[in-house]
């Protein structure tokens, strides 16, 4: 059996007196769409941050495809094939959509500064190749029309889409998404749901999805983990979770 694409073991994360994560373990299997839900401030984003290396857990470890990456820098972890989208957006506001997506491909490119300075060697070809890959993603996400718009001028919903595109541009082996549906109407959610499903099916990328829209979560997730006050309070298929009394009490109401 190959190692799981992502495994977080016994992560504990504290900020001063606040315990954001308390002994949390999750495993993501191949091709799986794992949803993480929980009330506000439960520690969902913190869990993604620990996974991505943005926070360093006081205890516990993170493994990507069997490799221990605990304590590595974010960019090193990204190079191990982890990509994520953000709660709120962290796009490069002044840059156009294409440029944002091209930045996502930065780590896949190889040219060095001297080559860039003189524009010799494979620089041109490399640029064109990666640009092609970027355009493919733009096509896939149906954002051709805004390709050359600075993302700072886009509405919130479109930004989220660009954010996804940028993560996909990294050609990740696992994708973490933090509330991708926030700020969309149901038509747009449908579009995005389709993209997420496609990502998983066509590109075979396992996805960890943090989301508050229960409709989306229940429909898309293979498995759900519920967090409350930094602890895992339930784990199971959507049907199981929907019926779990602890979850209903803490989250669904």
């Amino acid at each position: 059996m190959t190692a799981a694409p992502l495994a977080v073991r016994n992560a504990t994360l504290k900020f001063g007196g606040v315990t954001a994560l308390d002994d949390v373990s999750i495993t993501v299997n191949d091709d799986e769409l794992l949803a993480i839900i929980g009330p506000n401030g439960a520690g969902k984003t913190s869990l993604l941050n620990v996974t991505a290396g943005f926070y360093r857990p006081q205890k516990g470890s993170v493994e990507l495809s069997g490799k221990d990456v605990t304590g590595q820098r974010v960019d090193q972890i990204a190079r191990h094939g982890l990509a994520r989208t953000f709660q709120g957006t962290h796009l490069f506001a002044g840059q156009t959509v294409v440029e944002n997506i091209m930045i996502g491909r930065h780590m896949l490119m190889k040219s060095n500064v001297v080559q860039a300075f003189f524009q010799y060697g494979t620089v041109m070809r490399e640029e064109s190749e990666h640009r092609e890959a970027a355009e493919e993603i733009i096509d896939f996400l149906e954002i051709e029309a805004i390709r050359n718009r600075p993302v700072g001028t886009l509405g919130y919903g479109l930004r989220k889409r660009v954010d996804l595109g940028r993560a996909l541009a990294q050609e990740p082996s696992i994708l973490l998404m933090d509330e991708p549906m926030a700020g969309m109407n149901s038509e747009e959610k449908e579009d995005l749901a389709r993209f997420i499903l496609d990502v998983r099916e066509a590109r075979k990328i396992p996805v960890v999805l943090v989301e508050h829209d229960m409709g989306v979560v229940m429909d898309l997730a293979d498995r759900i983990v519920v967090l409350d006050f930094g602890r895992v309070i339930a784990e199971g298929t959507p049907e199981e979770i929907q019926k779990d009394p602890a979850v209903i009490k803490a989250y669904l109401g």
């Binding site: 984003t45 941050n49 943005f54 953000f86 709660q87 709120g88 962290h90 933090d178």
Partner: protein, 294 residues
């Protein structure tokens, strides 16, 4: 030994003078998030105002000092009106860059208005130093130290404890949010510059009392800068500690190390201390920590 202690005391007092000038930076930063590169120029403008009211108009000190402070405040206000009001709502960065322009412009303006001559500066604090046994302490620095401490305590109470202070803090945090909550960004910035100009003028009086005045005096802005960064750009109270530390180290360097190496390490040592502390604490001793959240 006595001399050593005396050097430490004088150094600390000079450090407090730096802290006072640095307070100009911090107040403006604290109320508007604008880092004012032209702070040293405000000091000479303040200096020239004092010079003008005493030496030119011939007013007595009791009259000219308050008048100078008022005039300095007006200059601060005018700067806000002319240069900064129009940029409210634009990025803070553009305001900071305006102060770069201001640095060059004010320098020219001082030359234009007062000419380049080296002027005698009025004697505001007695020239005769205070004698404590074998130690002697310059009166201007002593008075300056006291003023600095009083101003620092008062202003840090104002910014941290009062609601007006909180309002300005909100402006420093985010101009757009502040104005969307009905806080007048303009008012806050104007207040900051008025206060900054006044503090600079007081600084000029202490710095230059009984000495001479040219536009070269603006260098004190860059001498005070390490103190502001050492303390952290948001911290007014911290300036006292930072000023004293930097002042003492500088004084010991100039008095004991410089003669050995035959150079002027004393003038770079504040920058070295500052670099060291920033590498350990990137936002100074008491500055707001950078918040990174995804």
């Amino acid at each position: 030994m006595v001399y050593f202690i005396n050097d430490i005391i004088t150094g600390a007092l000079i450090g407090l003078l730096y802290a006072l000038v640095a307070m100009g930076f911090v107040v403006i930063y604290r109320a508007s998030k604008v880092f004012n590169f032209a702070q040293g120029e405000l000091v000479i403008i303040g200096g020239f105002i004092v010079w003008f009211t005493t030496m030119q108009l011939g007013l007595s000190l009791w009259l000219s000092i308050p008048l100078s402070l008022v005039l300095a405040g007006l200059v601060g206000y005018a700067i806000e009106r002319i240069f900064l009001t129009k940029l409210i709502g634009e990025s803070v960065f553009s305001m900071v860059m305006v102060t770069v322009g201001l640095l060059i412009l004010l320098r020219g303006l001082v030359l234009l208005l007062f000419g380049p001559a080296v002027r005698p500066f009025p004697i505001i604090f007695p020239l005769k130093p205070l004698f404590l046994g074998d130690m002697l302490i310059p009166m201007n620095l002593l008075a300056g130290g006291i003023i600095t401490i009083v101003a620092a305590v008062g202003l840090s109470w104002f910014f941290n404890r009062t609601r007006s202070g909180l309002r300005m803090t909100a402006v420093a945090e985010d101009h757009v949010v502040a104005s969307s909550m009905g806080i007048s960004v303009k008012g806050s910035i104007a207040f900051a510059w008025v206060l900054g100009a006044i503090l600079s003028t007081i600084g000029a009086m202490i710095f230059l009392s009984g000495k001479s005045l040219t536009f070269l005096a603006s260098d004190i802005g860059f001498a005070a800068l390490p103190v502001a960064l050492f303390a952290g750009l948001e911290s007014i109270g911290g300036l006292i500690l930072a000023g004293v530390i930097i002042g003492v180290v500088q004084s010991l360097t100039t008095n004991y190390l410089d003669p050995m190496i035959g150079g002027s390490l004393g003038s770079v040592v504040p920058y070295i201390i500052m670099l060291a502390i920033l590498l350990i604490r990137p936002t100074g001793l008491f500055g707001w920590r950078t918040i990174e959240r995804v």
